[in-house]
Amino acid sequence: MKGCAVMDKVKSLDDLRKMKAAMQNATELREKGQNIDKLIEVKVSMATCGIAAGARETMAAMMDEATKRGIKNIVFTQSGCMGYCHSEPTVTIVRPGEEPVTFGEVKGKRITEIFDSYILKGELVDGIIPLSSKSIHD
């Protein structure tokens, strides 16, 4: 984001608003960090086995999904080993003010299902069985 020298001149208040919109993602992540308690936090477990099982791809896919759906009140972080090797990739979701819920084997179709039910509505739908409501290390 060092490219500010090539930035166009702002000639009106509207230009300024447009530039703000264009720059929004430069600091959005930090804004979210400041307000993390008010956002849906999705923690992707990135221990050795998680990464081997595709945790990085899961995180990328989930971030894409959020962008695609235009969901703004969501923030992605990572956690270390959760002790669920057998179910990796695991994802723990903390809705503001609620207990964390951990999901196992989060990839492919399950990602859309989790968005449809838990992220959007806070509902736990059949077939998506949370591993536990707390991680063992948290």
């Binding site: 984001m1 500010c4 208040l13 992540l29 971030m63």
Partner: protein, 597 residues
């Protein structure tokens, strides 16, 4: 993965860069690249986090992990552990001085919990060299609002309604100052930003300029619109190279983006800013001296009136505000004057930044709402007194202020309460003293500073303060009498009443305040020739405890001054008049009979 999932903020403030933080940036970037993460993890150089003593600081967002005292050698581990595997590097986390727990989230650190950051809102958050980041955070929107939705008078009224008062020391209502400057008709007016920051120990203005220079540019432009000025001037001390550089770059970026210059945002308002470099004399922070210095004249104050608002830079109406005062302005327009006025006490609104230093566990820049108590600042945010010692006093207001003792610990801090307590807000230096600090010494330190910095224009300040300093030296050498204490007070009154500028008028304050609050300690120096804190070297005595002395004569043999006498196997005594306090006897006695007092 094209999505950026993590920002690694590295402090690029003066404190942290001097302990190699920019090397950390390079090391982190190299390591992130090596791990193939350059697309998903971004490293940002941010401004000062305020926790400079524990620097270099590295903060990871969005999980808010706060690493302290990081070295370039730690970069590899941070990347491999935290960034790749999500495991925090606990040895780099902050350790709570009270519970000795490692705290990872900065939101849970006592140092930050009670802070409310308005003036420092973007410090440690934004890349100060990227105007785009400032714009993303509503930057220049306050200016836009002022230019397109408000008349100059409405802008002045908004500032008046906010209750903002000058943060440079005087606490003069900012809106009123703007109104006065606006009321004069002239072909040219000036907006002057006072970035001289001469109070020893204060560095909030430096941090704002380093960490958030665009907020100052924006605020000065808003002020220009309000008072009808098209020119801005920043008077900054040349010893702040990083602040100078960041502000220069920010001014250039603002010009290139069209936020400074002619017809800003297409309006008919034009404004630009020049920088002037001061040599760092304390008196040049006084506004009339500052203006003379801008005009390449000697940095000496002139008498007021006329005030700068009427006749300032080149004789034109000029509005002088402090850096921290300006830093509050954009927020007032974004969030509204009512919001700002809802923070603080009846007559002091908003927050104040303090440079907390001295004998507290957590030292650094802290911004708290007006009305926060000294106890909260020192014992909660500051984490209490170091090494479990006892709190003695807090010196506020720098060389113009005074000390606040235990009885003021629960007083809400604001302009008026501090004055009532015999001190003042000043620019926000706060030095915490413990039982080992000698108050005569403290007074001597500040007075020594003002004597050095006096411009010499008027006699009471030039000569009077020097006399006072000599008297303090006599006291700490045990050569003064009780009468001298009265004379000290008398002289202080004369200097206060007859000095031309604020420097001389306030110079005796640290002496008067310590005399008022610690008279016993002064008495001990003059009457008993004793320094209770054991700080005044010439008052320290070596004494022999007759009950412990075996009369071995060893001490008498080593004494170079022949100050020790006594018969073999009988208790020895030290003749204090001859003793040169070399400590040889103390080191020699095998029976622990000699002690320092």
């Amino acid at each position: 993965m094209a999505n950026v999932r993590m920002h690694v903020l590295v402090c690029g403030g003066t404190g942290c860069t001097s302990s190699r933080s920019l090397e950390i940036v390079d090391a982190l970037r190299a390591e992130i690249k090596a791990q193939g993460l350059a697309e998903e993890v971004k490293v940002v150089i941010a401004g000062c986090f305020g926790f400079c003593e524990k620097g270099p600081i590295v903060k990871i967002s969005p999980d808010n992990t706060f690493y302290v005292q990081v070295t370039p050698e730690d970069a590899k581990e941070i990347v491999a552990e935290h960034i790749v595997k999500g495991r925090k590097v606990s040895r780099l986390l902050y350790v709570d001085p009270k519970t000795t727990e490692h705290i990872s989230d900065s939101k849970h650190m006592d140092f930050y919990k009670k802070q409310l950051r308005i003036a420092l809102r973007n410090c440690g958050f934004l890349d100060p060299e990227n105007i785009g980041e400032y714009i993303a955070r509503d930057g220049y929107m306050a200016l836009g609002k002022a230019l397109f939705e408000m008349t100059p008078k409405e802008v002045v009224d908004e500032v008046k309604k906010s209750g903002l008062r000058g943060r440079g020391g005087g606490g003069f209502p900012t809106g009123l100052k703007w109104e006065i400057a606006a009321s004069y008709k002239a072909d040219q007016k000036y907006v002057i930003c006072n970035a001289d920051e001469g109070d020893p120990g204060a560095f909030m203005d430096r941090s704002v300029l380093e960490g958030d220079p665009h907020s100052i540019i924006e605020a000065m432009a808003i002020c220009g619109y309000a008072i009808g000025a098209s020119k801005g001037v920043v008077y900054i001390r040349a010893e702040y190279p990083l602040a100078v550089e960041r502000l220069q770059k920010a001014i250039v970026a603002a010009r290139e983006t069209g936020l400074l210059g002619n017809n800003i945002l297409g309006s008919d308002f034009s404004f630009d800013i020049d920088m002037y470099y001061g040599a760092g004399a304390f008196v040049c922070g006084e506004e009339t001296a500052l203006i003379r210095s801008l005009q390449s004249e000697r940095g000496e104050p002139t008498s007021k009136p006329p005030f700068p608002a009427e006749s300032g830079f080149w004789g034109k109406p000029s509005n002088v505000n402090n850096v921290e005062t300006f830093a509050n302005i954009p927020v007032i327009f974004l969030k509204g004057a009512e919001w700002f006025a809802s923070i603080g006490t009846a007559k002091s609104k908003g927050t104040k930044v303090f440079a907390l230093a001295g004998k507290v566990n957590n030292v650094g820049l802290v911004e708290v709402p007006m009305g926060t108590t000294l106890r909260e600042v020192i014992f909660d945010i500051g984490g209490g007194i170091r090494n479990g010692k006892k709190f003695k006093a807090a010196q506020t207001g720098g060389p113009s202020g005074g000390c606040l003792t235990e009885k003021f610990l629960d007083t809400p801090i604001d302009y008026d309460n501090l004055i009532a307590a015999g001190s003042m807000m000043g620019s926000g230096g706060m030095i915490v003293l413990d039982e080992d600090d000698c108050m005569v010494n403290v007074a001597k330190f500040y007075l020594g500073f003002t004597v050095e910095e006096s411009c010499g224009k008027c006699t009471p300040c030039r000569v009077g303060n020097k006399r006072m300093l000599e008297m303090l030296e006599k006291i700490s050498e045990g050569k003064a009498t009780e009468k001298d204490l009265g004379r000290l007070r008398e002289l202080a009154g004369i200097i206060k009443d007859t000095s031309l500028c604020g420097l001389g008028q306030t110079a005796p304050n640290p002496v008067l305040s310590t005399l008022d609050n610690f008279y016993d300690e002064y008495l001990a120096h003059v009457r008993d020739k004793r320094c209770p804190a054991g700080k005044c070297k010439s008052l320290m005595q070596y004494v022999i405890d007759p009950a412990k002395c075996k009369g071995c004569t060893m001490c008498a043999k080593v004494c170079p001054a022949g100050a020790i006498s006594g018969k073999v196997k009988e208790p020895h005594v030290i003749n204090q008049d001859k003793c040169v306090k070399c400590g040889a006897c103390f080191a020699t006695c095998k029976f622990g009979a000699i002690s320092k007092r």
